[in-house]
């Protein structure tokens, strides 16, 4: 245990804050991107990805015509669900939207038609548009699908970026440890001559890699938190104008701890690779 304490103390003395800052900046990019995606995900998930088709009836259509159409839609096996939205309910829903109530009141009459919202795995929009009494059909899922596809591309790009920057972290640590080993070449050689085990010699370098990764991870979180705080000032203004309290959120405690530990593990890996490669070259002669 004492040897571990000595190794840790030695690693703390040798740690370069500049390296930790470089690692922190590199990790802040994927960590910040992840925080952004996670903030936007709940909004995206509210959008149905199941093909949803809205059927707006002719404004002159009678309720009996609507009932008949509803009956026909419900018997169609290709349709998963049918929901009827009477024009009165549509009006009430619209009035609930902030700022629209006075406009609607000024109209004096209900301009909205009866409507059906149906869901189906098949693209029935064109066929449903030909049904009697249907004035207009809108396939709502298309743009939601595009948004989901764009989100998936963004997420994949983010993981790719995280992978590349993770490799950069390993490389930075690898090089830092290499330089440390070169600086301490005499000490390592003498230590081997007078009976130090390989584990004893390697341990401070492992701790240095681990520490550098952890501090880099913490720096990354601080940078992300600061960036989100700055962005949220503008997001608040935009969201308030839509009557929303949406804000960009930081990583959860578990995610933040996992990010720091992962950075530490990558630092350890870089140290392990460097130590294995470079210590072998130092043998007393």
């Amino acid at each position: 245990m004492r040897h571990h304490r000595q190794a840790l103390a030695s690693a703390v003395r040798k740690m370069s804050l500049l390296n930790a800052l470089v690692i922190g900046v590199a990790l802040a990019l994927p960590a910040g991107g992840y925080a952004l995606l996670e903030s936007l995900r709940p909004a995206g998930e509210r959008l149905t990805l199941e093909p949803r088709i809205s059927l707006f009836l002719d404004p002159q259509a009678k309720r009996a015509d609507a009932d008949a159409l509803g009956q026909r839609l419900r018997t169609d096996r290709r349709i998963a669900s049918v929901r009827f939205i009477p024009r009165e309910q549509a009006l009430e829903d619209m009035k609930a939207i902030q700022g629209l109530a006075p406009v609607i009141a000024a109209l004096g009459r209900n301009p909205l038609p009866d409507a059906f919202v149906v869901t189906s795995k098949e693209d029935l929009a064109a066929e449903l548009a030909r049904l009697p009494g249907v004035a207009h059909v809108q396939a709502d899922a298309v743009w939601a699908r595009r948004l989901a596809a764009a989100s998936a591309i963004l997420e994949a790009a983010l993981w790719l970026l995280a992978g590349l920057l993770g490799a950069a972290l390993v490389a930075v640590t690898f090089n830092t440890i290499r330089l440390q080993i070169l600086t301490q070449r005499d000490e390592i050689e003498v230590s081997k001559l007078i009976g130090a085990t390989d584990a004893f010699i390697r341990r401070p370098f492992y701790y240095l890699g681990l520490l550098q990764g952890i501090v880099g991870g913490i720096v990354a979180l601080v940078l992300v938190a600061a960036a989100l705080a700055l962005l949220n000032r503008e997001v608040a203004v935009l969201a308030d104008s839509y009557g929303s309290n949406f804000r960009l959120g930081f990583l959860s405690l578990l995610e933040a701890v996992a990010a720091v530990l992962f950075a530490g593990a990558l630092g350890w890996l870089g140290a392990q690779l460097s130590v294995s490669r470079h210590l072998r070259q130092i043998e007393p002669s």
């Binding site: 004492r2 000490e187 003498v190 004893f200």
Partner: protein, 216 residues
């Protein structure tokens, strides 16, 4: 304590440093190893802590055939041998005290015991008052004494020194030899490589003469 049997050492380039070396060094003995420059004295000394491995024959130290030891076992062999190198191999980025602390750092002693041992070793070589100095500030003789302090701090049963009096004046050389003799008098086995025939003659101890790759 140390036994060489028909030991040969040929380096990868083909240079044959030792041909057929056989001798035994009993526990508590002090012996000088002598021979002209390039005779193979340093190679012979390096075979004892397995810094180099024999090409043929066996080197037994404390009952262990060091030529057959796995690399992982070497540190434990070396901890029981005090090594004093011709070029001292001191670390000039730390104090006299920290140089002597180096071998104690990977032992299992408590910090208090480690500090006590370091000070005791420095006291034996009369460097305690220089413990905070940097080795670069020491004279040649003092640097050699510092190297001895580092070699004995873990109280090894065997001390091996390669030309410890080289480049020292007569007084400093005598002082260094007296330190080795003092350790030998308390039971430490000592093997010293030197070409200083005057010193060897003065002590009347056993002499291993290395000639033509063989000990006579």
């Amino acid at each position: 304590m140390v036994s060489f049997s028909a030991v040969a050492k040929r380096y990868p380039g083909g240079q044959e440093a030792l041909k057929d070396v056989s001798f035994a060094l009993a526990a508590g003995e002090l012996a000088f190893l002598t021979g002209r420059s390039g005779a193979g004295k340093t190679t012979l000394l390096k075979l004892i802590p397995a810094i180099v491995r024999p090409s043929a024959g066996s080197v037994v130290v404390n009952g262990q055939n060091v030529g057959a030891l796995k690399p992982a076992a070497l540190p434990y062999l070396r901890r029981n041998i005090g090594l004093v190198f011709q070029d001292q191999k001191l670390l000039y980025d730390r104090s006299v005290y920290d140089n002597v602390m180096l071998p104690v750092a990977f032992s299992s002693h408590s910090p208090k015991e480690a500090a006590r041992r370091v000070r005791a070793a420095l006291d034996k070589v009369d460097l305690l008052r220089r413990e905070k100095a940097n080795p670069i500030q020491l004279s040649g003789g003092e640097q050699q004494r510092l190297a001895i302090a580092r070699a004995v701090v873990n109280r090894p049963a065997l001390l091996v020194a390669d030309e410890p009096t080289a480049n020292l004046d007569a007084d400093a050389a005598t002082r260094i030899l007296e330190i080795f003799v003092a350790f030998n008098q308390v039971g430490v086995t000592v093997l010293i490589a030197t070409h200083d025939q005057g010193l060897i003659a003065r002590y009347g101890k056993r002499v291993l003469r290395l000639e033509g790759g063989r000990v006579s």
